[in-house]
Symmetry: C2
Subunit: 390 residues, 2 copies
């Protein structure tokens, strides 16, 4: 009848990190304080007003008029699953682009929904090829959708979402775009580009705590969901229920209990984005990135991704040959309270992912990062130390 | 390029409610402040320690030694779906008890997973009948699982989880128990009773913000999941991945980005539960309930559920014939900042659901509720007013 755990956190000072990895990004105290507001009931009229505001602010962030624009009550990976399983039925074909971890994840999810997947592969570090997509859609004339990652978090690459959406439209298939890392950091115009479903995450360029997945869904997709032959395999992710819950006007239908405090945080971060303006936020990410790249060059580090396809909010650099990746990052965290990201998948152990996202995308962050990495590189090399002693 | 929304929350005082509905329950300022701690990276060693502590504290709350005991990064409804879709494969039979909204929801989820469902129905307001379950399991000898709701949030009824688990074990089927409203409020002994999977919610008797679903899974179930003929239909909810993410020891495998700040809040609420002790928490819920029932009797209101099956944390009373349900609750909220729950499903418009859950289960809450309801009943009757003018 007793818990054997020692409450190591109780009373101890809570650690505070400089978050410059691939997300979560550093959350401002304004947003943190918003998450600590008193919890309202999920059907409280004041909370429903706040839901409506959140939807409107998300429409601005996504640059869309889509009615069904809302934060899914789960992380970006669940957002990815929601977008795929609402459109796909057993036997459907999905054309899925794969140039990093997240295209591979989409593939796995689509297969579990009973779809046949035709992959369009590009090398890690390169963008999706519009020509290859055009070809794949020509070879799969009955395909239901084209899915791709706008900003690949595993490689730091931006693909041309506008061009890909145009090709998909020409072939008459729906587009599903992963904008987890792009939303708020680089231009994204959902309506103008004709993207059908776009999902994102709260913890990247929006700088809200992780846990929510903003999603926007075109009316065309909702019609298609209504006309499915089979029910959506997931009750929790079914867009029909989510429409009644989020867009029900005065007559919201209970579906689940919304994560009230998490939505406070996202709402506050979206207010900050609107106050700044999207173009300013995009410019700020670009400027911070350029300053980072200049400074890294002085340290002998250069971005892996070609300048034409590089994400400003996530700079991927090869780990220097004479440096032990894991030991170096551990020392950065321990000595400088500074987090940068490790490589994932094919890039594990080979690259660092340095995120300047949302609230963290500013000159002072760049200085902090350059000073910490620079000092530690010098020390490692001077001491000629290996993994065990850094 | 502009958002048309007016930020009504910005600068305005944020409303604070007394939450005495069916959840979310009132969150203590200690827990709210915990959610506002600086966000850590989801792979930060300090956050991983906090994940381990959270798992250990949840084992105490569930009274289990199950290794896979963790908070799912989504609300209770997703927890329900996780538990069902990991066990069920197309063609399986599930025996599902239905005595309120949530048994019906389980049925729908199981069907979408391709299962055939045999329902064991009991009237709304009554518990699940062990005899009927025994009979249903006898008539469905190859059934994969028995699912039931321990504490029905739509009716305020407690079913005999121990007896039901014993019957299931005798028939060699897995038990899935919904403990969304029971965990922390009434005795629940997962290991002693032999429950195979139990899921709950953060926002009921634990009084953390809504958004997480604590789950515990027996090793027997994990073996069964490993031996499935088909992959689990949901990538996000697959227990094999979640085991690698939550129980991977020193070698956690990235699956999704955990909702870091939400977990801070849950962790703090679980610490509070352990400091108080489970038995004390259960006794506090019982005492508060008894005080509430005595006070309600003086107002002419009596619980709908038989005393033997009544949940202390959720008291359901019929709305008096001369009172307009919606107008009365709206006036309580507007004039007293006090939320009680409406009826759901069959009970819509007919009952009030008064929750004394977690942090809210105390004598001062009882006094607040009785004074507010008592005063408003007197005024309504004195003024002989209808819905439109209350």
């Amino acid at each position: 009848m007793t818990a054997s755990v020692a409450p190591i956190r109780a009373g101890a000072p809570f650690p505070e990190r400089e978050l410059f990895g691939p997300g979560p990004s550093k959350v401002s105290s304004r947003v943190l304080q918003a998450t600590a507001r008193p919890t309202l009931g999920h059907m409280d009229p004041d909370f429903i007003d706040l839901m409506d505001e959140t939807r409107e602010l998300l429409r601005y962030a996504f640059q869309t008029e889509n009615d069904l624009t809302f934060p899914l009550s789960a992380p970006g990976s669940a957002g990815m699953e929601a977008c795929l399983v609402n459109l796909l039925e057993p036997g459907d074909t999905a054309v899925i682009c794969r140039n990093g971890v997240f295209g591979a994840r989409m593939t796995e999810i689509a297969r579990r929904a009973g779809a046949t997947v035709a992959n369009v592969d590009a090398p890690w570090g390169a963008p999706v090829s519009p020509e290859a997509v055009d070809e794949a859609l020509s070879s799969n004339p009955g395909a239901r959708l084209l899915a791709f990652v706008h900003a690949e978090t595993s490689t730091g690459v931006r693909s041309d979402a506008r061009a890909l959406a145009e090709i998909a439209r020409r072939h008459g298939v729906f587009t599903v775009a992963d904008a987890v890392t792009s939303l708020g950091g680089v231009p994204l115009h959902v309506d103008e580009w004709g993207l059908d479903i776009v999902y994102s995450g709260s913890q990247k360029c929006l700088s809200a705590p992780p846990g929510l997945s903003p999603i926007t869904v075109s009316p065309r997709v909702l019609d298609a969901v209504k006309n499915r032959r089979t029910p959506v395999q997931s009750w929790f992710l079914d867009f029909s229920f989510l429409t009644n819950y989020w867009s029900g006007g005065g007559k919201r239908a209970y579906h689940h209990t919304a994560p009230v405090n998490a939505i406070y945080g996202l709402h506050e971060s979206l207010l900050m984005l609107r106050e700044e303006g999207l173009e300013s936020a995009w410019a700020r990410h670009r400027d911070s990135h350029e300053a980072l790249v200049s400074g890294l060059a002085e340290l002998g580090l250069s971005p892996l991704v070609d300048v034409a396809h590089r994400l400003p909010q996530l700079t991927v650099v090869p780990v220097p040959d004479d440096i032990d990746d894991a030991a170096f990052r551990a020392a950065l965290l321990r000595e400088h309270q500074l987090e940068i990201g490790a490589g994932l998948g094919e890039f594990a152990g080979k690259v660092w992912r340095i995120g300047l996202m949302g609230y963290g995308a500013k000159r002072s962050s760049v200085n902090l990062i350059l000073k910490a990495i620079g000092d530690l590189l010098v020390r490692c090399r001077a001491e000629d130390v290996g993994a065990s002693t850094v």
